[in-house]
Symmetry: C2
Subunit: 413 residues, 2 copies
């Protein structure tokens, strides 16, 4: 865990209200780190539904396998997360470890193992000693409170330099509901999904199917639109839990994601997911600049997104931004290599509001001074208009600095 | 152009013999650099055939368009290359510039513009003032010699730290023929193709179709198997010229790439292309380690290559090698994200000859000391055996260092 906070961190950590039906506790189990919390236990009231989106890696971690299997039941009563060890690529030991972790959590919560969800983040390939959970879980269950959001977000951090939290409210059938979420992730970040863990909690009364529908769609424009280094983790996990407690205050139970009464909730959820995803990019390892890449005029939205990711993942674009150079030639290169329809002679590129290239050539005259001043800021927007159609997409990333290389290369030296 | 030579440069620059029918001269035209050559003119005897492979970028440079058009004629009499300006994304001015450059070269050589091939490398988006060629081409034509290989290789360098040359011989119908080549490229290097220019010359009597067939196949295991930073240039150009002069010594004229009499020549050409491609990876910007990635046991060769490129392009794998850490967890991650068939529990990973992971787990016991010693060397081979089939592929890359970021980000500061 780095001690220096990213210069792109939000200036204020939001204060999250309770979500009725959700309680937390954290603990120091000594999984790997010393002197910090590394275990999070969330307890969920009966009736809580669950949805999830996971890494598309062909080599997923053992906890990802575990969650995928339990998701079929649609209900959740506990979430157990640890940092320091990803329990990934640990073979048979990994499966034994998830089974033991779930058993221990089920025991202290008095629930079935099929209602326990697991996530692990940290080193890959080292066996996770799940018996360490046994030392702390009973105490966690005893002291769990509805207000430990910040502590929860801190316990799951690895190379993150700041905890990532967000909160939103919405109304369903005239009743206000809360959506809280937190996330971790700073490196090995790329769609699908950002290498990260993220957990969302709401008291809205939603069926598991409705929640899954909302989550699967929401992830496309948020966690699947953020990249730090194009590397995808074995452990990416986004879980959403809906306790349904708002039903006691008169909120209707919603069975389908397409229900019109969810429009406000859907917007609030999507906004929260974007907020968390952007916080992940803002904490990109070594990041000094937050980059928004907008692609317009593509033949389709899917094409626009592929071009945007090609730009956002280009080491040469990212190092140029680090060097505060509006190097649009590298943007052209990244558009060209995406393999999507593009016509050199229709392409326009802007940095911020300043158009530097238009219809295949350097823009006739633009204020070099103004561009330089713009690039010195710590938020940079690159817009590429392909001039072909109406497809548009936005993705977020950060610059590529020597610090990224130091964090990921110097850890042994 | 960097002044510090890559530590991975070959210890000896090969001495290239003449190729009958080929003469060179270089000049200082002041395109962008001062005090160094930046123009190369090659003159080719009548009857020279030509083949080419180009960038797959959707935004290719004007010279790439020019070469593609002329390739249809199948014959070449001159090659004009400049460094310092890529003449890419220069719109209508770019097309006018290539037309003028070809006209000037055709005039001094007394040939048709359709027999002139062009390549440019350097800054993107700046108009190239082709009239500068007019100041030097007549002198180049006068002083062209059959021995200026090293000068030719130097004139086309940009961020390269050493000139890249290779030579091979083969026999066709019992007659010895020569194949010489040189290349440039150090950044913006990825398939398809490596961001690079490369030119190959032979006195073998080959039809344009035969030469094209050999070149197109040869590029797959060489320039399309090397990556520095996953960025693909707008200007990638590989051209091969066959003067046919060996026919005067009795070599048969070969019309088809599949002709059995070409087996020795094909091997020699492929070996030369691999040699040049590896030199490009060895000169990867900031590189301190040359990495060979071998993937075995994939479901097909194509699948193996995609997995190998996923590993070779992973910033986390490349920074780990820079940090001299045999971080096989990151290799697992890169295998998983490739999107190709893979089974976590059958995967084995080796660094050099040391197997560090086997069938989905850390190998029971391996000599940590030996692995560390191996990683300190400047040549690292990573082998991933997927355990699924017989598909195999090899690609080459280099590590990702702070120096890469400095070269690509600090150039303005």
């Amino acid at each position: 865990m780095s001690t220096k906070i990213s210069p792109l961190a939000p200036s204020v950590v939001p204060d999250l209200p309770p979500v009725p039906g959700v309680r937390f506790a954290t603990a120091e189990a000594g999984i790997r780190y010393k002197g910090r919390t590394d275990v999070l236990l969330a307890l969920l009231d009966p009736g809580t539904t669950v949805a999830g989106v996971f890494t598309r890696s062909r080599c997923p971690s053992a906890p990802v396998d575990w969650c995928r299997a339990n998701l079929a039941h649609g209900t959740a009563r506990a979430l157990l997360v640890n940092s320091g060890n990803a329990n990934a690529f640990t073979g048979k030991k990994g499966r034994e470890s998830t089974a033991l972790a779930a058993k221990l959590a089920a025991e202290v919560a008095g629930i079935s193992e099929t209602e326990v969800f697991l996530a692990s983040t940290g080193v890959i390939g080292e066996p996770l000693d799940a018996s360490k959970f046994g030392n702390v879980l009973a105490d966690c269950a005893d002291k769990a409170t509805d207000s430990a959001w910040l502590e929860a977000a801190r316990a799951i951090m690895t190379t993150d330099t700041f905890p990532k939290l967000a909160t939103r409210t919405a109304t369903i059938g005239g009743v206000q509901v809360t959506i809280n979420g937190f996330a971790k992730g700073a490196g090995m970040i790329a769609p699908d999904m950002a290498t990260m863990l993220s957990f969302v909690f709401t008291d809205a009364p939603l069926s598991a199917a409705a929640l899954q529908g909302l989550l699967s769609r929401g992830v496309q424009g948020s966690f699947n639109a953020v990249t730090v280094d194009s590397d995808t983790s074995t452990s990416d996990t986004l879980l959403a839990f809906a306790t349904g407690a708002a039903a006691q205050r008169g909120a209707p139970v919603i069975e389908a994601a397409g229900d019109r009464r969810l429009s406000g909730f859907r917007n609030a959820l999507n906004s929260l997911l974007v907020d968390l995803a952007q916080q992940v990019a803002r904490d990109g390892e070594g990041a000094r600049k937050f980059i928004t890449v907008k692609v317009e005029g593509a033949v389709s939205a899917a094409s626009a997104k592929r071009v945007a990711l090609s730009i956002a993942n280009s080491p040469l674009v990212k190092t140029a931004v680090a060097g505060e150079d509006a190097n649009w030639g590298r943007v052209v290169m990244a558009v060209g290599k995406a393999g999507e329809p593009a016509d050199r002679d229709r392409l326009s590129i802007s940095f911020g509001d300043i158009r530097v290239a238009h219809e295949g050539e350097r823009a006739a005259s633009y204020d070099e001074e103004a561009v330089s001043a713009y690039m010195r800021g710590d938020e940079v927007t690159i817009t590429a208009d392909l001039g072909l159609g109406r497809g548009a997409a936005t993705v977020w990333t950060c610059d590529l600095t020597k610090e990224y290389v130091a964090i990921n290369g110097d850890y042994r030296s």
